[in-house]
């Protein structure tokens, strides 16, 4: 195994200290540490955060390896400071059996850049009609605990109720993509002032809020855990706040792009802004930021959705929905939440590591940066300023809305169980000492 001595890192933005990593664990934290480590890192000005955990990543493998593979997706994750990602189930074939989730899990193990925790489909083929073999997926090597038909809403109330009840047997959680299908037929962007002017089919906020309202009531009724994917409206925040105030076991996530971008950008008709759920209004962005700050929204999740160029380099109506996000997430969160004074770095660690790991029941991740803990770490330079250049991305796709924009911060290094996957901002072969 390898050892690293990280000098003068600010742990969660606190005072500068040295961190000694030996054999996968944080062995010592203190000032003026001396050790004969394999690699000595000057971390002056860098913040040490626990390795980030993403609850919502699309790795596209199996089936759409032209957009992303488990290898390229986890490389992108490492470059973004992630040590664990939940891989969504909408692959080809759908991850609705023990076989497929094990395949994805093993590909993650082999790649070695970050832990891949497959999400199992709630229903067979994501069709919303028949429960998938949730127990078999849990019992597999992948040990699935998060189930989602993401991209499709489990809109049948009975199926949703049964799923919520069933996963209680193995402490699972159903992560719902809240989108009432009839209210969003033909929808292409947020319904509001801009959609009216652009003549694009509107996606009303109420289509998300109505499902969330129903689901929190169902979860409360059966006493289950519910997780709400990519919350995007102010009204959704209010419903989740109300459910939490009732003491119900409801958690929620928000994407980095919903914390920063608004539907005004759609005026360009550039499909890079086409995403599901759609970009909303400035008022919604404000509400989402406040909710993340006060903990109503538990986690930031990327909804990293890679698409090849031909699926985006076209007219709006036929373009695929989604944007990549793993490599820019921490920078966007710094801009939207930290630089605005809404969240401390401790808060960032909570929303991007501790809580997502807890929701996904990922042991070994989301742990504090302290002695004896697994060395899942990210060193981040918050003072860095640079222009986003998608050509430098590790992800196989380039559908980022931030191309050419100046975003703050940069991941300097990422460690997965004491092994560097990124050093000086560049990928390194897991296990390779630089």
């Amino acid at each position: 195994m390898s050892s690293y001595l990280i000098r003068n890192a600010q742990i969660l933005g606190g005072p500068a200290q040295d961190i000694l990593i030996v054999d996968g664990l944080i062995e010592q934290i203190g000032t003026g540490l001396t050790a004969d480590a394999d690699v000595d890192i000057d971390a002056h000005g860098l913040i040490a955060l626990p390795g980030l955990v993403d609850l919502h990543t699309h790795l596209r493998e199996p089936g759409r390896e032209d957009a992303e593979t488990v290898l390229t997706g986890t490389q992108a994750a490492a470059k973004g400071g992630y040590t664990a990602v939940h891989a969504m189930a909408n692959t080809f074939p759908v991850a609705d059996t023990a076989g497929v989730v094990e395949q994805v899990w093993r590909l993650g193990q082999e790649a070695g850049y970050c832990d891949v925790q497959p999400v199992g489909a709630v229903t067979v083929g994501l069709e919303g009609k028949k429960l998938a073999e949730l127990g078999a997926m849990h019992d597999s090597a992948a040990n699935v605990r998060v189930f989602s038909d993401d991209g499709k809403c489990v809109d049948d109330a009975v199926i949703m109720r049964r799923a919520l009840e069933y996963v209680k047997a193995f402490d699972g959680v159903v992560a719902q993509h809240a989108q009432e299908p009839r209210l969003t037929e033909g929808a292409q962007m947020n319904e509001g002032q801009v959609s009216g002017e652009l003549g694009l089919g509107g996606w009303p906020a109420v289509a998300e809020e109505a499902i969330i309202a129903r689901d929190v009531l169902l979860a409360a009724h059966v006493g289950s855990r519910l997780h709400v994917c990519h919350v995007s409206t102010a009204g959704s925040v209010e419903i989740i706040r109300w459910a939490k105030a009732k003491g119900w076991d409801v958690t929620a996530e928000v994407t980095p792009h919903h914390l920063l971008l608004t539907d005004e950008l759609v005026r360009s008709y550039d499909p890079v802004y086409k995403v599901n759920p759609p970009l909303r209004t400035a008022e919604d962005v404000h509400a989402l930021r406040s909710a993340l700050a006060d903990g109503t929204i538990d986690a930031v999740a990327t909804d990293h959705a890679p698409h090849p160029a031909e699926d985006k380099d076209c007219e709006w109506a036929v373009a695929a929905m989604g944007m990549v996000g793993l490599e820019t997430a921490l920078s966007v969160v710094q801009q939207a939440m930290v630089d605005t004074g809404l969240l401390t770095w401790e808060g960032v660690a909570d929303r991007m590591s501790h809580r997502p790991a807890r929701i996904g029941r990922l042991a070994g991740h989301g742990r504090p940066v302290s002695v004896g803990e697994p060395a899942n770490l990210v060193l981040f330079d918050p003072a860095y300023r640079g222009t986003v250049n998608p050509d430098s991305f590790a992800t196989r796709s380039r559908n980022t809305p931030y191309k050419g924009l100046d975003l703050p911060g940069r991941v300097h290094a990422t460690f997965l169980r004491g092994v560097a996957t990124v050093l000086a901002g560049e990928l390194v072969e897991p296990g390779e000492l630089v």
Binding site: Q188, E191, G192, Q193, V194, S195, G196, E197, L198, G199, L200, G202, P204, S268, Y269, D270, E310, D313, C314, E315, W316, A317, V318
Partner: protein, 325 residues
């Protein structure tokens, strides 16, 4: 003027008046035995129609031919598009063929904007109707028709004129372009429709909104009917055709309550018996057929000004302002 005409918002008041005045002069051509000018000789204009259209496509084609342009008609049906070719590759093909302008109609809102903003094409892009977004040349021909009836003369605008637009505003590209252009020209627009056929956010548009057609009749200088697509009924936008007709259809009784000088307009095709009775459609106050004729003049003017470039536009501006004096 800008290089492209994608939205009515692309037009300043001066641009719009220049097009209307140019169209006024070009309209004289239709009365001549030889209806042709050599203005666009050697220039290639492609009509790129991804959606069926007889009226608009023919109108553009006549306009292009009257200006002596080389015209290529490209219909999506039966073409490489039906084999799965993307808009980008189609555009690159047209670019390689040396298209100086592309007149595009597309079922997707924003397709012309995408084409204009991309580097796929170097020529001008003229929006001939995109999804439920805009149809700027329709708005120009409507304004041209209104000016002829309500405030004739070169250099004149529609300042203070009250225009009522009735029907399916939600799905109407004609309505969106009209409200922008008519405001630019100083007119006051009122939309009349059931609430289900008005877009969310219309409160912030530069117009008034009413659910009551009868209340607007007496104060309308022009009343424009929009086509209601029968398939909308399945989506519960309104209960029955009969109820729609009763509340928002134009008949003889309603026409009689318009001011004497007011005109009734329709972009076509008209659904007789539902939106408009035969009595109104065939009356001398209905300008539907005249609008078709004016469409050719307007499209000639747009092509002439966009492809003629700034020099032509400047010269023309001087001529028309002198004429206006």
């Amino acid at each position: 003027m800008k290089r492209h005409l994608v939205s009515a918002a692309d037009l300043s008041r001066d641009d719009a008046l220049l097009i209307l005045d140019t169209a006024e002069e070009l309209a004289q051509l239709s009365g001549r035995a030889v209806k042709k000018l050599p203005t666009l000789r050697g220039r290639t204009v492609v009509n790129l129609f991804f959606e069926d259209s007889t009226r608009t496509k023919t109108s553009f084609e006549v306009a292009e031919k009257r200006l002596s342009a080389d015209v290529i008609n490209f219909a999506a049906k039966g073409s490489s598009v039906s084999k799965g070719e993307s808009l980008k590759d189609t555009a690159l093909t047209l670019q390689a063929m040396g298209a100086d302008a592309v007149v595009i109609r597309h079922h997707a809102s924003g397709a012309p904007a995408r084409l204009a903003q991309s580097d796929w094409l170097h020529g001008s892009v003229i929006n001939a109707g995109d999804g439920t977004h805009e149809h700027p040349t329709q708005a120009l021909l409507d304004a041209f028709t209104m000016r002829r009836h309500l405030n004739p003369g070169l250099g004149k605008d529609l300042n203070g004129r009250r225009i009522t637009i009735v029907g399916d505003v939600l799905h109407s590209r004609v309505a969106r372009s009209n409200v922008l252009l008519l405001n630019t020209l100083g007119a006051q627009v009122t939309f009349v429709a059931p609430p289900t056929l008005l877009p969310i956010g219309i409160d912030n548009w530069p117009c008034e909104v009413s659910y009551d057609l009868d209340a607007t009749l007496a104060k309308s200088d022009a009343l424009m009917l929009l086509r209601v697509q029968r398939e909308r009924m399945n989506a519960a936008f309104f209960p029955t055709e009969r109820e729609y007709s009763r509340r928002y259809g134009m008949d003889g009784l309603r026409m009689a309550r318009l001011p004497e000088h007011a005109i009734v307009m329709h972009p076509g095709p008209m659904v007789r018996g539902m939106e408009i009775t035969a009595e109104v459609a065939d009356s001398p106050r209905c300008t539907a057929v005249e609008q078709v004729a004016n469409g050719v003049s307007i499209r000639m003017a747009v092509l002439y000004l966009l492809l003629g470039g700034a020099t032509l536009a400047d010269n023309h501006s001087t001529n028309t302002s002198e004429a206006a004096k």
